[in-house]
Amino acid sequence: MGRIAAPGGAVWHYRRSRLGMTAAIVAAAFVLVALFAPWLTPYPDAGRGIPDLSIRLQAPGWSHWLGTDDLGRDVLARLLFGARTALVVAFGVVALSVAVGVVIGAVAGYFGRWVDEVLMRITDTFLAFPPLLLAVLVAAALGASLRNTVIAVAVSWWPWYARQVRSQVLSLRERPYIKALQAIGVPHRRIIALHAVPNAMAPVWVQATADLGAAVLTAAGLSFVGLGPRPPTADWGTMISEGRQYVLSGQWWIAGFAGAAIVFVAMAFNLAGDVVRDVTDPKTRQN
């Protein structure tokens, strides 16, 4: 990922933005919660999806802080385990889209001419579909599973990264240092990987951070329409979808808390994206 800024300077700046700092903490907390979910709840079995029909649909209270769902599982435990699913989806989607987007964008931008032409027309084809629709189509075609959710969302997202990286590399390839490396005879593959891409990544990391939140949101959308991970895997989108029927009868807590979790995490990553921008952009760092 390369060095973004002097570490001291970055922290100095981080402190100046309260909201950004809070967002970063929430985002970090989300990751920790996901990692340590089984140890954070007295009901890990409920989290893993084992029903206990004797305690169906209990309202929030002392023993079950956020209540239980229609199969008698602790909602808090489901939320904590759902965070693991969300984490895998978020990082999986972003990693996959960035990987594909960066390779295609960098190659197109670096070589230009017909290579650029071909790769960018392919990219444009993907961009022509509304992203969510494309994701639904791919997920439906591949079948519902956690892995396929990741692939489906990534398929609709990589073109954005490809465009971004292409425009960066397009300007980088005219830089004297790239010309110097070409004159030395360094292979193009090596120039792209070691000298062009690392200098094109700053805006990509900003986008990627913000996209972690959007990935959670999109994945929840897919689960909501039944194209998410299969039960009994805990998943926020599925919780909303299944909890929805109980909202009108007064058992709001299943869908309600899951929805809150999604909004919270999506917002946190979005704001964290702003922080990453401020930290990586020397212009905002100065003022």
């Binding site: 002097a6 001291g8 300077g9 100095w12 700046h13 100065q286 003022n287």
Partner: protein, 322 residues
């Protein structure tokens, strides 16, 4: 003539148009203060071209950007300034009376407006003849056609002349030219410098010409100040300073230029680096790189002392020991 204004020559001449006393500029960076200008005093009279010489990092551009209020908010500026005898804040008050010519003329013109429009904005008049007159004064022929031209249609030399025309449209009393010829070709450099000298004569402008190139300073400047590490190390008439320099730094600078009579010989380069704005300087700032350094140089900060008629240099070798 609509642009420009003829002041009668008179006793005003004895008081400088611009006086700067002990100007300091410090940037507040996250890692600590960076002193770009440590202490600079200078004067410019009407009808005079003052050269400001120095290498990159000596503070020559920052100095005038500070006076014009063009520095980012992280900069703090101290010292005193008088313009036309009246005290002024050092916070950009000069903007009203001064025009700035940049190094890169291409960047100083707005690409989406014609030259005529850009002149109009600044001059505040649509009078065709007046606008043409500005271009003619800047040495551009066929001004009528040029008014409708866009900046990209101009060569480097023409752009710089257009920038000068825009500067004239502000009716400045002080013209600040920051490396005005550095981005130009050799064959146009001299012409643009001559133009600046002509305008000085015609409008009795006070001109400050900032340049790293001593040949440029030599060509048009009446007086010169040499900056090193944000301080004035030498000042005097250009001919004196460049032929009989009083400060070892000025001498070293002159000797490092390749000369026809010394072809193939080793050039005198200055060892070491310009001190960083973060460093505290005790004693002479040039001492670590100077061939004549002795104990006194490290101990005391040299003041500007007379080195001849109207010629002063900040070197302890010139000061009586005491």
């Amino acid at each position: 003539m609509t642009a420009g204004h003829m002041d009668e020559p008179g006793p005003v001449d004895r008081t400088p148009l611009l006086e700067v006393e002990g100007l300091r500029v410090t940037f507040n960076a996250p890692t600590g203060p960076v002193r770009a200008v440590r202490s600079v005093s200078l004067q410019v009279k009407r009808g005079e071209i003052l050269g400001v010489a120095g290498e990159s990092g000596c503070g020559k551009s920052v100095l005038f950007r500070a006076l014009l209020g063009l520095l980012p908010i992280t900069a703090s500026v101290g010292g005193a300034m008088r313009f036309d005898g009246k005290p002024m804040g050092t916070d950009g008050a000069l903007q009203q009376a001064a025009a700035l010519i940049y190094q890169n003329p291409g960047a100083a013109l707005n690409p989406v407006f014609t030259i005529g429009q850009q002149l109009q904005f600044v001059a505040g008049t649509k009078d065709h003849a007046a606008l043409c007159d500005l271009l003619t004064q800047a040495g551009l022929s066929q001004p009528e056609q040029l008014l409708d031209a866009y900046p990209h249609e101009f060569s480097g030399g023409m752009s710089q002349r257009a920038v000068i025309a825009v500067a004239l449209a502000q009716q400045p009393r002080l013209l600040i030219a920051d490396e005005p010829t550095t981005a130009l070709d050799v064959t146009t450099q001299g012409l643009v410098l001559d133009l600046i000298a002509q305008l000085r004569d015609r409008h009795r402008l006070a001109v400050v010409l900032i340049s790293h190139d001593l040949a440029v300073i030599q060509r048009v400047c009446d007086r010169v100040i040499v900056l090193y590490a944000g301080q004035v190390v030498e000042t005097g008439a250009t001919s004196t300073v460049l032929t009989a320099p009083g400060h070892p730094y000025t001498r070293a600078l002159l000797e490092s230029v390749p000369r026809p009579e010394a072809v193939g010989e080793e050039l005198a380069s200055i060892p070491g680096l310009v001190p960083d704005g973060r460093q505290e300087i005790s004693g002479c700032a040039f001492a670590p790189r100077c061939p004549h350094t002795h104990d006194r140089c490290r101990a005391e900060r040299p003041a500007l002392v007379p080195a001849g008629a109207g010629h002063r240099a900040a070197c302890v070798l010139l000061a009586p020991s005491g």
